[in-house]
Structures are given as C-alpha cells and as structure tokens.
Amino acid sequence: MAVQKDKAALREQIARRAEQEMESGMYVNLGIGMPTMVANYIDPDKQVVLQSENGLIGIGRFPYEDEVDPDLINAGKEIVTEAKGASYCDSAESFAMIRGEHLDLAVLGGMEVAANGDLANWMIPGKMIKGMGGAMDIVHGSKKVVIIMDHVSKHGEPKIVQECSLPLTGTGVVDRIITDRAVIDVTETGLTLVETAPGWTIDEITEATGAPLAVAENVKEMTV
C-alpha cells in the first residue's frame, strides 16, 4: 500500500486537483463540505465566479470582523463577502440558472458513484434523513459534474461501484471523479482511469475500485 499522507493533506490534494478543473470565465458551484475548500486554492489569475444556490453569484472570501453582514452567507451558511461584480437573486432564479445549465462546473461530495455516472450523496437508510438540499438540482444543471471523495470508505470498501447501494441523488449525472488515489472519468462505455495520485499504482487503484476500470492511453500522474 502507498505511503499514507495525513487526512488533511489528502483533502488538500483533492481540493487542489479539483481546482484544475476550473478555467477563467467559468461559473462554478461548490458543494458543502470538502468542495467548499476548493475555493481556497483557486489560482488568482483565473477569473472564476462561484455561484451559491441561496442567491449569490460571486462568492468572495470570508469577511474580516468589521465586514460581517449577517445577511450574507453561502449555501453552507457560512458568512462570506461579495466578490467583485457579484449579484444577488432569489432562490427560484438561482435554481433556474442551475437547472438551465448555465453553470460550467459543479464540484460536489459523494458517498457512492456508479460506473454509469449514478450518484448517491444524500441519505443513508436507517439514519436520520436531513434532506437533499440543492444537490438533486445541481447534478442536473451543470455542464460538468465532478465528484470529489475518498476512494474507499472508512472500512476500506470501494465507493466507486458497479451499481449504487444507497438511494440515488441522480442517475447518469457524474462526469469525473477525483479521489485521494485517482482521477476517473465516466464515459459512454464505463469508467476510465485518467490520472493516478502520487504513490498509487494502476493496479492498486483498479483493485480499490468496485467496477471495471479502463485505463486511458495517456494516463498520467496527478500533479497538484
């Protein structure tokens, strides 16, 4: 098995790799949790607009104490500031924007992703259901949906599977999966390994993946 990095370093590695999905001019929605961290690593030379589904187009950095406006939060309910050129809208308009496929990219967390792009990330049967929030809308609304998550569960079980066992968030919605071990694309014919994370071999990744994994001709090592 590969050299263990600590959890925080791996999360940062995933977030930095996810940042590479962004290009100047893109409108991006970052899910709650680890996806929100991606904002910390955005190349300042890239002009990326972060959309928050509670009605802000242009999320800025966290405020200094004297800038705090309690009326200004992101979808994770953290107080934030406005980026330059920001605008506000109501929730219907915000999701009209999402559903109408005006976002270029959504980066979301995942519990399970299936070989056909099915995503499960909102409920575990038997546990209290907190609600899907905006996730079920966002997975349908972005030109590209990237899931970032650990490659395997706490118990070492694959989270990338032939078929999801958990209730779905959306069917066939995932375009790319970025984990601590690999970058995998969901294609018409199934999963394709496109990048290996530092310290992981193709065989190790294949073994830790619960569905057939093709290897891209130009597979390369992730650089972050």
Binding site: I42, P70, D137, I138
Partner: protein, 236 residues
Amino acid sequence: MKQIYTSFDEAVQHIQDYSTIMVGGFGLVGIPENLILALVRSNVQHLTVISNNCGVDDWGLGLLLENKQIDKMIGSYVGENKEFERQVIAGELEVELTPQGTLAERIRAGGAGIPAFYTPAGVGTPLAEGKEVRTFDGKDYLLQTGLKADVSLVRAAEGDTYGNLIYNKTARNFNPMMAAAGDITIAEVEALTEAGTLHPDHIHTPGIYVQGLIEGKQEKRIERYTIRERTAEGGN
C-alpha cells in the same frame, strides 16, 4: 393602502389552527424573526409549514417545533435541529423533503398560477416514487405541482406603505416567491417608508403580493461565524 401593523401579535392573526404557512429564509438569514416569535405566542396548532429549513433548536422555526405547533414540514434540508429529529422519530412530525430548486420552483409556480411543471431533479431517485415521469427531447423529467399557502410570512430590508419590498443580499432567497404564493402575505421589514421613496426599478417584490406590513428590528443570528483575521492578509 396596505394594513400597517404595530403589533406582531396582531400581524399573525390570520394564521389559525391547521393553516398552511410559508416562512421565508435560508438557514437563519432572511427569516421574519418577530413574526415567528409572535406565532409562538399565539400558540396556534397543527400548522403545515413550508420553508427551506426549520430553524435551529432555539431560534427561528425551531421555536415553533419546540412548542409543538407544527404537524407537517415541507422543506429541503432540516439537519440543524435536534428537536426536529426527535419529533420525526417519535412520529409527531410529518416531513416532506423536496429538492431545494424544486421547492423554489413549486412555490414560484404556486404564486404564478402554474399548476404543474416538469423538472429533471429527482428522476431515478426515491423522490420520483409516485410521480409522473415524462420524456422531453430524450431526457426524463418529473411532474411537480405548484405550492400555495394560506399565509406567507416574509422579511425584507425595506418596505413602503404600498407593500413594495426590497431585500438585502442573500436575505432575499425564498422570500419573493413566498410573498407571491400566499393568499395573505405579511412582511416584516427593517425600515418602513412612505410609498414613492423606493426606486421603482429596484423593487424586488411589488406591493400587489403583500397584504400587511410591520416594522421590526432584527437580531440576525449567525449560524457559522467564519471570519478571517486582519493579520492574515492575502489569499482568497
């Protein structure tokens, strides 16, 4: 022109036992704080509440939960509230979870006279159970119906005596659609002015949707106080 209330208790008088109400806000932002407090005092029972979230244990709609005034909650995320969980497990509270964008659009549809529409959210998920699925241009969609309320409670930053409302930043959220979807809409505003003082191009909710207004000072509790230090300059 509109009913201008000076008492919050009076402002919620249209809400009766078994009323369906909509309450604006996302998290604790943009919630009609004082109208909710008045509703707790009113002690009306068996409410159906439509709101994105259900407050926290000691603030917002959480206070109505604590007082056991809610029979049914329609929202998209209810995870900030322990009493909510307890009541659901105990079978005291019915929950209807709806994807957030679907919830927003269902409320907009209710106010806009659209009885139903198709949306991709939820296709192939447990949410699709019992719902019509229909294909347009090779893609599947779910039929969703509009939502209305007997009374909507909303909060705005500014309001005028004709009922026109302007919201501040992300405190807008669900408030405009709910204002339109209530048979009666009561707005709690931070500053109430004479008609004619708000810029007509800046008004978010036209007064036609609003039946009553009341001015109130907001506490504006913050759920996640994520500030950065002045010393830590730079970064994003």
